[in-house]
């Protein structure tokens, strides 16, 4: 009987087929190729669910499928790794991709966009790249599809290429992430050269090899093994920081809002940005060998979580608020993974995929309602006119802010709990924890500032008074995601489990391989490898309650402040009272400025200087030498008639003469 695994390649190949079909025939198809994408992603979703069920039945899968390049010492291949982590992610990605395709019918087709053939083709390619990245069984294949994900986001962010801003944003997204990928590729090459394998799983995998090298006290490339693992791990992390928009490579992401909102939903929830954090989870066994690398992940995450949240506070554009919230939320995932909270990080990755896709699609619905207005100050009062959009958006907002019992609460709480218990024994991590915790307050504030400004109060413009209707293709995805944002937390109700003793942390069991997993790729294996001790305030339960109480209290405080300031009929921009702080925040801490300066103020002048040097000095010497030695001589000058045909004739004659001489000499004509 055919098994799910035999069909697993089709999970990625369906959307690839949709890409080809939409690209070639899109103009002649109903809805310009949308249905090709819908059927393909629906097929991917069904197959992913089948794979999920098979993995749950205790059968993981790890096979090489295709030899890409074969060397004597090492081969590079494509293969598929289906274990609890990748099976879960495949479902998430294909589900979000399907919903985004359906939503696009209402957002792109119904709005009379041109270039839809290109849009659906690129969407298909995007989904293909991400799905292939997710089930990659080795680091090189992961890198390859990681880069293709970058290409697709370049194409889609720049979808409206006739504007000035979209192509610029697309370029920035690719360039900044390429900068990160440079380090990633050096890391791939270094790991391959060191351990002779790039596989994620099995006895011949690079995390296993790294562990053995550390245990044996080997020296690798002149470093002791653990240092070398740290170095290579951090190199790969460069790619993660770029794609997952962590500080300091986050600057591309707010600009990427230039793309269609549907694309933003896909990029932020399930593809491009998720790819980075997913990679850390995928090769967690490697990072677990290096406490230094883990600490850096945790601190980058904690800092980014707080840093981005503060910027979200002062934004006027609804998509900009969501953009900064994405950066911040991925910071939480990094924080969770960095302190060894593998389950917490993956849990938040999943929940965030649902509620962030929901919020972006909700923002898309708002943009339709508002006749393509994105400034929240021109909205207001949409609550009663578009209840479906409102209640689903509210569900996403509650999840984002981390209000119990919405999904985001459970996962964010778990991340912070893991950071806290590690911090109690290694006080350094308390700083990362504190940043994450303070970030919760800002998250609550900016989230509800957005909700109140958009949906509550009185309509502030004609557009808000007379919103454009939204259709079923917009509502259905919102409702599906709205429900998921509310209930997805039930898969891992760790606090309730701890209080009642009930065995209900299903995601933890899942990732721990209780239903089947590949040896070494389980939560337990990771947990043992992570070298951090854990401590408690009193008992584990007390610690948990204190942590949960703190984060929920701060989230509610932030939301409450937003309520008091903005849930009024005619809100005013209170953030103006922040004075120079507001200027700093609205300028995004001048991160863009220095990066643009690095590109345009430093590199470009350097390039121009190099060009002048090249023209003046290097080429000058060449021309100088030739004019002195060759063209300076009067004898040469005489044949230098300047008529090119004469040169040609001379050359051809010379060539023929050479042939004749050689021929005669060799007796050919004799």
């Amino acid at each position: 009987m055919a098994t799910a695994f035999e069909f697993a390649p089709a999970i990625a190949l369906f959307p690839l087929a949709a890409f080809v079909i939409a690209l070639v025939f899109g103009d002649y198809m109903p809805k310009k190729g949308a249905f090709a994408g819908i059927f393909a992603t629906a097929g991917s979703l069904l197959l992913s669910l089948w794979v999920l069920a098979t993995v749950a039945g205790g059968e993981p899968y790890n096979e090489q499928l295709y030899q890409w390049a074969i060397g004597d010492q090492i081969g590079f291949h494509f293969g598929i790794l289906l274990d609890p982590l990748s099976a879960l992610m495949l479902v998430i990605v294909s589900l979000i991709a399907l919903l985004v395709h359906i939503f696009s019918l209402g957002y792109m087709n119904a709005e009379g966009e041109t270039g839809l053939r290109r849009y659906y083709a690129e969407l298909g390619l995007f989904t293909f790249s991400m799905l292939a990245f997710v089930f990659a069984d080795n680091l090189l294949m992961a890198f390859m599809f990681f880069e293709l994900v970058g290409l697709c986001s370049y194409l889609l962010i720049g979808f409206w290429f006739r504007t000035e801003s979209a192509p610029s944003a697309a370029k920035k997204a690719f360039l900044v992430t390429r900068f990160g990928d440079y380090f990633f590729l050096v890391g791939v090459v270094a790991i391959a050269a060191t351990f002779g394998t790039l596989s994620f799983a099995g006895t011949e995998s690079f995390p296993t090899a790294a562990e053995a090298a550390i245990d044996n006290g080997e020296t690798l490339f002149g470093f002791d093994a653990e240092t070398w693992v740290t170095i290579t791990g951090l190199l790969v992390l460069g790619g993660v920081i770029g794609k997952s928009a962590q500080f300091p490579l986050h600057t591309w992401l707010p600009d990427a809002m230039e793309g269609p909102t549907t694309v933003s939903a896909l990029i932020h929830a399930a593809t491009m940005v998720a790819a980075g954090v997913y990679l850390v989870a995928r090769m967690f066994g490697f990072y677990a060998q290096s406490p230094t690398a883990l600490s850096i992940i945790a601190f980058v995450g904690g800092f980014t979580a707080l840093f981005a949240a503060t910027m979200g506070v002062v934004k006027d554009d609804i998509k900009q608020v969501l953009a900064y919230s994405t950066i911040s939320q991925y910071g939480y995932m990094m924080l969770g993974l960095g302190v060894g909270g593998y389950v917490a990080g993956v849990f938040h990755l999943m929940n965030h995929a649902f509620f962030k896709a929901l919020l972006f699609l909700g923002a898309g619905a708002v943009i339709i309602l508002m006749h393509h207005e994105q400034d929240m100050w021109k909205m207001g009062g949409l609550k009663d006119k578009a209840p479906v959009a409102y209640y689903t958006f509210l569900s996403g907002a509650l999840a984002l802010a981390g209000i119990v019992p919405f999904s985001g609460f459970w996962s964010k709480d778990e991340v912070l709990f893991d950071a806290l218990i590690v911090g109690l024994e290694q006080p350094l991590f308390l700083a990362a924890y504190a940043m994450g915790l303070i970030g919760v307050f800002f998250t609550g504030f900016y989230t509800f500032r957005m909700v109140f400004l958009t949906f509550h109060g009185e309509p502030r413009t004609d557009a808000a008074r007379d919103p454009h209707p939204i259709g079923w293709s917009v509502k259905v995805p919102l409702i599906v995601l709205g429900v998921l944002a509310l209930v997805a937390g039930v898969v891992n109700l760790a606090p309730i489990g701890k209080l009642t003793g009930a065995e209900i942390t299903f995601l933890e069991f899942w990732l721990d391989g209780e239903y089947g997993a590949i040896e070494g790729l389980t939560y337990h294996a990771y947990h043992e490898a992570v070298p951090f001790a854990e401590g408690y305030i009193g008992t584990e339960t007390v610690t948990m309650l204190v942590g949960a109480g703190l984060s929920l209290g701060l989230a509610l405080a932030g939301a409450g402040l937003a309520y008091s300031l903005y849930n009024v009929p005619e809100p005013v921009p209170h953030t103006e009272k922040l004075g120079s702080v507001r200027t700093l925040l609205r300028s995004n801490y001048y991160q863009d400025e220095y990066q643009v300066w690095l590109a345009e103020g430093l590199t470009l002048p350097l390039a121009r200087a190099a060009d002048r040097f090249d023209q003046g000095v290097i080429d000058g010497v060449v021309n100088g030498v030739s004019s002195v030695s060759l063209f300076g001589s009067g004898w040469i000058k005489r044949i230098q008639t300047g008529v090119v045909t004469n040169y040609a004739a001379l050359l051809v004659l010379g060539f023929i003469a050479l042939l004749v001489v050689l021929g005669l000499h060799g007796g050919w004509f004799a």
Partner: protein
């Protein structure tokens, strides 16, 4: 006799085209060029060689005839292919056919001569890659210069004379240096060689090297010859600082000449480096590894920085060739299977990708009559298909995975990083790899300015879609680029087979 047939078809074709009427010359040359292209593709499938042509390998399509006895040395017509040269021959025949098609639009003057020269250059290029006798090889090597000189000098842009003469004199002086060096080496080898056959010279080199000649000790002679030959070939590649002829030649050359110049002529340099320096002189490679690697890194980074400063699309692609060929040098000096194999792969890959880029720039130029980045914007609006292929080619240039450029660069990087021959290999590799960021920088900036944004171009005519025969060759190249990116083993298999014996010399693998 397959190789002779290829060369003869191209030569006879060149003569026929030369006397054909201008009106039919383009189509005629295209039809003729299909014969070597088809034959070489058949040869590719029928390839039965193994090992390295210079190191007792089993040659495919070999033929050898005594030609001239020059004193103690015999010169022969000696041709044959191995896994290194065959892919380059196929690259040549395919690119020639496509270059002919891409000439139909821009070339409207003296067509019969133009297409005749293209076929003439084809014959000589095949000869360069197939010849295994030094004299024969050198005749083809020099003969390539003449048609290229004329293509630039007659059909080129406003400064064509300067560019053509610079190209000709510079590369010719370099050839002279190389020639003198090699002849001294042969004399230094003394009685151990009796012919100019490259395999014989290679084995003489490997079995003891040159004795003293003209009062110079053998080892000094070997080192001096190595350096002189390296410099001679470095001009052709070109390696910084011998590169300044290249942008001038490209800017003035008509599109098809640029396609061939970047696509095949530069590979003559790296091919010769591999055949001579890196096969016959393993000890010298080791001795000079660090300076060569340094030149490679400088070529990559400095070439890319120069590309960043340009505003002429053709100059951008020209300088980026300098950068890409730097990777080839790095791969060669790594002296590992993936390093040297990847360098050879990059020769083919860069031939396809740079050919595609020059064609795409040419198609835009045909429509706009400008190549300046500052003169236009939003071309995607008017020429969606041509621009689409240009974008694909640009990403190929940036080393996008599943395209041949990534495979080539990854092989080189991996091969170089773990090199045992080269000290500080990881540092050199990591530095050179930064080129992948700069290349993205200059290509994305150029694309943003010219292809995207609101449409702007001051013309007194309407810019419309490019004709099919302008874009069709680009699609062929794109298909090949993707095929080699998805399945690099298509050629990497035979490349490895020919490269391995070289590495066995240095004891590496």
């Amino acid at each position: 006799m397959m190789i002779e047939t290829l060369i003869a078809v191209a030569l006879v074709g060149a003569l026929v085209t030369f006397v054909a009427p201008n009106k039919v010359a383009g189509k005629l040359a295209f039809a003729i060029s299909l014969i070597p292209a088809a034959l070489s593709l058949w040869m590719f499938t029928a390839f039965d060689g193994s090992g390295n042509a210079l190191l007792d390998g089993q040659l495919a399509f070999e033929s050898r005839m005594e030609w001239i006895q020059l004193g103690e040395y015999s010169i022969s017509w000696f041709v044959g292919l191995d896994g290194i040269s065959l892919p380059l021959v196929v690259l040549t025949t395919v690119l020639i056919t496509l270059a002919i098609v891409s000439s139909w639009t821009p070339i409207d003057d003296r067509q019969s001569q133009f297409y005749g020269l293209l076929l003439f250059i084809e014959a000589n290029l095949i000869g360069v890659f197939a010849a295994l006798d030094f004299f024969l090889w050198f005749v083809f090597w020099e003969a390539v210069l003449i048609p290229m000189y004329l293509l630039i000098g007659v059909w080129g842009g406003p400064r064509r004379k300067y560019a053509a003469i610079k190209f000709f004199v510079y590369t010719n002086v370099a050839s002279l240096v190389m020639f003198v060096a090699f002849i001294s080496l042969v004399f230094g080898l003394g009685d151990s060689v009796t012919s100019f056959a490259l395999p014989e010279i290679a084995s003489a080199m490997l079995e003891g090297g040159p004795g003293s000649f003209a009062g110079i000790a053998g080892s000094t002679l070997a080192a001096a010859v190595f350096v002189a030959m390296f410099l001679g070939f470095a001009v052709k590649v070109p390696v910084v600082p011998f590169h300044t002829w290249l942008p001038d030649a490209h800017v003035e050359a008509p599109t098809p000449a640029s396609v061939l110049l970047a696509g095949v002529l530069l590979k003559m340099g790296t091919y010769a480096l591999l055949r001579f320096n890196f096969t016959m002189f393993p000890d010298q490679v080791e001795a000079f590894a660090i300076p060569i690697a340094a030149l490679a890194v400088v070529s990559v980074i400095y070439g890319a920085m120069l590309a960043l400063a340009q505003t002429d699309l053709k100059r951008i692609v020209a300088y980026s060739s300098v950068s890409s060929m730097g990777y080839v040098i790095l791969g060669l000096v790594a002296y590992t299977q993936f390093g040297v194999g990847g360098a050879t792969f990059q020769m083919v890959s860069h031939g396809l990708i740079s050919g595609l880029m020059f064609m795409a720039v040419g198609v835009i130029y045909n429509a706009t009559h400008t190549r300046m980045v500052t003169d236009m914007s939003g071309m995607a609006d008017r020429m969606p298909i041509a621009v689409g292929v240009l974008i694909a080619g640009a990403f190929g240039y940036m080393g996008l995975p599943l395209m041949s450029g990534f495979a080539a660069e990854y092989f080189i990087f991996f091969g170089a990083f773990g090199s045992e021959m080269l000290e500080y290999a990881p540092a050199f590799t990591a530095l050179a790899m930064f080129g992948i960021v700069i290349v993205a920088g200059y290509l994305l900036f150029a694309m943003q300015r010219t292809l995207f944004g609101p449409y702007r171009l001051e013309t007194d005519y309407d810019v419309g879609r490019a004709p099919l025969h302008d874009v069709a060759p680009m699609f062929v190249l794109l298909a090949l680029i993707i095929a080699l990116g998805v399945a690099p083993e298509l050629i990497f298999d035979m490349i490895k087979d020919a490269v391995d014996p070289i590495l066995a010399l240095g004891g590496g693998a």
